[in-house]
C-alpha cells in the first residue's frame, strides 16, 4: 500500500504531462529538428538523390538577393506595423474606456476588423486600392488628386499592405488594453485628480507604466504577427511588383511549394526561427526590467 502511494504522484505527474508533451514534441520540437536536418541536405530528384551538403544552402542564402530583399521588407513591415498598431490600440482603448454614447457599438466597430478573415479583408482592400475604380482613387478624385496605381508602384505597395495590416490588427490589441485599463483601480485616477495632475500627466506617469505588462504581451504578439501574417499577399500582390511587397514567410512558401525546393525552404525557415527566438528573448530580458508588475 505504501509503495503504491509513493509511486502514484510520480506516475500521475507524467500522465498529466503526456498529452501536452506528445503535442509539443510532434508539432513543435520534431518539426524544428527535422527542418534543421533538411536544411543541410540538397534537393533530391529521381535522377539525383538528396545528399548531405553541409552549410551549402546557407551559403546560397547569403548570395540570394531576393532573400535580402524580403528580409529588408520584413524589417520595414515590422517598423510600419508594430508601433503604429500598438499606439492606435492604446488610443482606441482609452477612448472606448471613457463615457461615450453607444459605447458597446463603438467597441464592436473597432473590433470588427479582427473578426473578419484575412483573405476576405484582402479581397475588399484589393478593390480599395485598385486604380480608377477603387475607393481610394474615387475619394482622391473628389479632392482633385490624380489616380495612383497603389499596388502597382514599388514605392507605395508595401505601405499599402502596412496600412491594411494595422487596420486589421489594432482592434485585436485594443481588447487587451481595454481589459488592462478596466483592471486599474479607480482610486489612482481620483488621487491624481486631487493632486491636480492633468489627464495626459496621469496617463503618462500612472496608467501607461501600469499597462506595461500588457504592452510586453502585445508587442511580442505584434512582432510574431509581422512575420506570420502573409495571407494578404496571396490576394493583394503575390509579393510583387518585383518582390517589392514580398515578406520572408511568403518567400518560404514560394520556395517550398512553387519551386518545390524543400531544403532551401528549410534553410529560410531556420533563419526565420532564429530571428523570432532572438527577438523574443531580447524582449523578455530587455523589457522585463522596465515592467512594473503589481
Amino acid at each position: 500500500m505504501r509503495r503504491v502511494r509513493s509511486i502514484t504522484p510520480h506516475v500521475y505527474g507524467w500522465l498529466l504531462l503526456t498529452p501536452a508533451a506528445i503535442l509539443l514534441i510532434a508539432f513543435t520540437h520534431y518539426p524544428t529538428v527535422a527542418t534543421l536536418v533538411q536544411s543541410v541536405f540538397s534537393k533530391g530528384t529521381a535522377i539525383r538523390p538528396s545528399a548531405f551538403v553541409g552549410l551549402n544552402n546557407y551559403r546560397l542564402l547569403l548570395e540570394d538577393t531576393v532573400f535580402w530583399k524580403v528580409l529588408w521588407n520584413n524589417v520595414l513591415f515590422g517598423i510600419g506595423t508594430i508601433p503604429t498598431s500598438i499606439a492606435l490600440a492604446i488610443l482606441m482603448a482609452v477612448w472606448v474606456n471613457g463615457k461615450l454614447p453607444a459605447r458597446a457599438l463603438t467597441r464592436l466597430a473597432f473590433f470588427t476588423p479582427t473578426i473578419l478573415p484575412m483573405v476576405a479583408v484582402a479581397n475588399i482592400w484589393l478593390f480599395f486600392y485598385t486604380p480608377e475604380i477603387g475607393l481610394l482613387d474615387q475619394i482622391g478624385r473628389v479632392f482633385g488628386f490624380a489616380s495612383h496605381n497603389w499596388l502597382g508602384d514599388p514605392d507605395t505597395v508595401l505601405w499599402c499592405i502596412v496600412v491594411m495590416t494595422v487596420w486589421k490588427e489594432a482592434g485585436f490589441f485594443m481588447i487587451f488594453y481595454l481589459a488592462a485599463l478596466q483592471s486599474l483601480p479607480p482610486e489612482l485616477e481620483e488621487a491624481g485628480r486631487l493632486e491636480g495632475a492633468s489627464r495626459w500627466y496621469y496617463f503618462r506617469r500612472v496608467a501607461f507604466p501600469l499597462l506595461m505588462p500588457t504592452t510586453l504581451f502585445v508587442s511580442i504578439n505584434a512582432v510574431i504577427n509581422s512575420f506570420k501574417l502573409v495571407d494578404q499577399l496571396f490576394i493583394l500582390t503575390k509579393g510583387g511588383p518585383d518582390n517589392a511587397s514580398s515578406l520572408l514567410l511568403y518567400y518560404i512558401y514560394e520556395v517550398a511549394f512553387s519551386f518545390l525546393d524543400v531544403p532551401y525552404a528549410a534553410t529560410l525557415t531556420m533563419v526565420l526561427l532564429s530571428a523570432l527566438a532572438i527577438i523574443a528573448v531580447g524582449q523578455f530580458v530587455f523589457m522585463d526590467k522596465r515592467i512594473h508588475y503589481r
Binding site: I47, E132, I133, G152, I235, P241
Partner: protein, 429 residues
C-alpha cells in the same frame, strides 16, 4: 499503467489496419484521379457527370475523381500522395509541370503504354499547339484537357464612341497604339478610360509569352533547358509593353492587377483588355455594353501561349491500372465529350473534330467569340516551361515587373534573368 498505454497503441494500430484493409482488392480496377479547378463555375459537377458516364460504360473500373484545389495544390497533393505510397494513377495537372514530373520520375510517356495503332493515331488527334507543352524528348507525356489561351476583349461601344469601326479591332502593334490613343479618354488630369490593359501581376510571364511570340521569338527551347530571355526580340517585346504605358500613354504605368482587371473592363475603365479565355463566360454574363473578342494583334506574326491543364499517368501503378487510366482519358477526350466540356466551361475544344460535332457547331454559331480562341490556336505556342520551372518563371516575372515599374531597363532586367536562368539550367544540358 504503461501496459494499458501500450495496449491502447496496439489497439489503435489494429483499428487503423482494419480501416485501411478494405481498400485493397474489391473492384477489378480502381483509379484515383486528382483534378484542379482554376476558373469559376460548378466544374466539379461537370467532372462528376463525365466520370459517371464513363463508369456506366465500364462497370469494371471504379474512378475516384478528387477535386484538389488550384494547379499548385493539385501538384502538391499528387506528389505527396506519391511519396506516401498511396499514389493516384492519373491526374490533371498544370501543363507546365511536365519537366518537374519527369525529373521526379513520377509519370510515364503515353508512347510507352499505347499498344494499338488506333491509340497511336489518337495521340495525333489534338491541336498541335496544345501538344507542345505535353511533348519533350520525342515523347508525349501529357494529353490536353482543360486548356485556354489569351484573347483580347474589347468594348464595341467605346470603339463607336471614339469613332472607330467596332468590327475592326487592332490587328497589329501599331494599330493597338493608334487606336488605343483614340480610345483613351481624359478629363483634366484624370483618365476616364484607358485604351488597353495587359495584366502584369499573377502571371506576367504568360502575357509576355504572347508579346514575344508576336515578335516571332519563343521563350525557351523544346528540351526545357535553355531560355531566350535576353534575345533582342524578347527585349523589344518588353520595351513595347513598357512603352504602351510610358511613351504612348494608352495603358496605366506600373503593374496592372490580374485579379481586378476584369472589373476594370466591365466598368468601362479600359476599352480593351488581354485576358484568359477562361473569363469569357463571366464577361458575357456581366457586361452591360456591346463587347467583342478578338485575336491578339501581331508584330511580325500573331501569337499567344496556351495555358491550362493536361492529363498525366503516374508511373507507380500496375499495367492494368495504366490501361484503365488510358481508357478513361480516351473517353474524356472523345470529340463529343470535348465539345460538352468546352461549352460548359469555356475551355478550348482540344481537337479539331470536336468543333465539327453538332453541339459545338451550333454553340459557335450562336456565340461567335467562342471560336476566336480556336482560330488563334494556329498561331499559338507553348507556355513557358522548363526544368526548375517555378524558379525560372519567377525570374522572368520579376524581370518584367522590374521593367514595367521602371526600376530596371528592359535590357538589364532580362539579361539578369537570363544569366540566373542559365545558372539554374546548365546542369540539365
Amino acid at each position: 499503467m504503461t501496459w494499458s498505454i501500450r495496449t491502447a497503441f496496439v489497439g489503435l494500430a489494429v483499428a487503423g489496419a482494419l480501416v485501411l484493409a478494405p481498400f485493397s482488392g474489391a473492384m477489378a480496377v480502381e483509379l484515383t484521379m486528382y483534378y484542379p479547378v482554376a476558373v469559376g463555375g460548378p466544374l466539379t459537377k461537370t467532372v462528376d457527370g463525365l466520370v459517371a458516364d464513363f463508369q456506366k460504360e465500364n462497370p469494371d473500373i471504379k474512378v475516384n475523381a478528387i477535386y484538389a484545389g488550384n494547379y499548385n495544390d493539385a501538384r502538391i497533393k499528387a506528389l505527396a500522395a506519391l511519396k506516401s505510397g498511396q499514389p493516384a494513377q492519373l491526374s490533371v495537372m498544370f501543363s507546365i509541370d511536365i519537366y518537374e514530373l519527369i525529373e521526379q520520375d513520377a509519370i510515364v510517356a503515353f508512347d510507352d503504354i499505347v499498344t494499338t495503332d488506333e491509340d497511336r493515331a489518337w495521340l495525333d488527334k489534338f491541336f498541335p499547339s496544345l501538344m507542345e507543352n505535353g511533348r519533350t524528348a520525342n515523347k508525349t507525356w501529357g494529353i490536353p484537357f482543360q486548356r485556354s489561351t489569351i484573347v483580347m476583349y474589347y468594348n464595341k461601344d467605346a470603339f463607336r464612341d471614339a469613332g472607330l469601326d467596332p468590327n475592326q479591332p487592332p490587328a497589329t502593334w501599331d494599330e493597338l497604339v493608334t487606336m488605343g490613343q483614340k480610345l483613351t479618354k481624359k478629363q483634366g488630369n484624370n483618365v476616364e478610360r484607358w485604351g488597353v490593359m495587359i495584366p502584369s501581376t499573377g502571371y506576367p510571364y504568360w502575357m509576355f509569352g504572347a508579346l514575344t511570340m508576336q515578335n516571332d521569338q519563343v521563350l525557351m527551347n523544346g528540351d526545357g533547358n535553355k531560355t531566350n530571355f535576353d534575345a533582342p526580340a524578347t527585349v523589344e517585346a518588353l520595351s513595347y509593353w513598357l512603352d504602351l504605358g510610358q511613351k504612348h500613354s494608352v495603358m496605366p504605368s506600373g503593374t496592372i492587377e490580374w485579379g481586378t482587371l476584369r472589373q476594370n473592363f466591365l466598368e468601362q475603365k479600359t476599352a480593351m483588355m488581354w485576358h484568359s479565355t477562361g473569363n469569357l463566360t463571366a464577361v458575357k454574363k456581366n457586361a452591360k455594353f456591346d463587347f467583342g473578342v478578338a485575336m491578339l494583334p501581331a508584330k511580325k506574326r500573331r501569337g499567344t501561349p496556351t495555358g491550362g491543364g493536361n492529363f498525366y499517368i503516374f508511373k507507380d501503378s500496375t499495367d492494368e491500372e495504366k490501361q484503365a487510366a488510358l481508357k478513361l482519358i480516351k473517353f474524356l477526350t472523345q470529340p463529343e465529350r470535348t465539345a460538352e466540356w468546352s461549352i460548359k466551361t469555356g475551355y478550348i475544344g482540344t481537337r479539331p473534330d470536336a468543333y465539327e460535332t453538332p453541339a459545338l457547331l451550333s454553340y459557335v454559331k450562336e456565340f461567335p467569340p467562342a471560336a476566336v480562341a480556336r482560330d488563334q490556336l494556329e498561331f499559338a505556342t507553348a507556355e513557358l516551361s522548363t526544368y526548375q520551372t517555378g524558379r525560372v518563371r519567377k525570374l522572368l516575372d520579376d524581370a518584367i515587373q522590374a521593367a514595367l515599374t521602371g526600376s530596371k531597363s528592359p535590357k538589364d532586367a532580362l539579361s539578369g534573368a537570363q544569366s540566373e536562368a542559365d545558372r539554374l539550367l546548365r546542369s540539365y544540358r
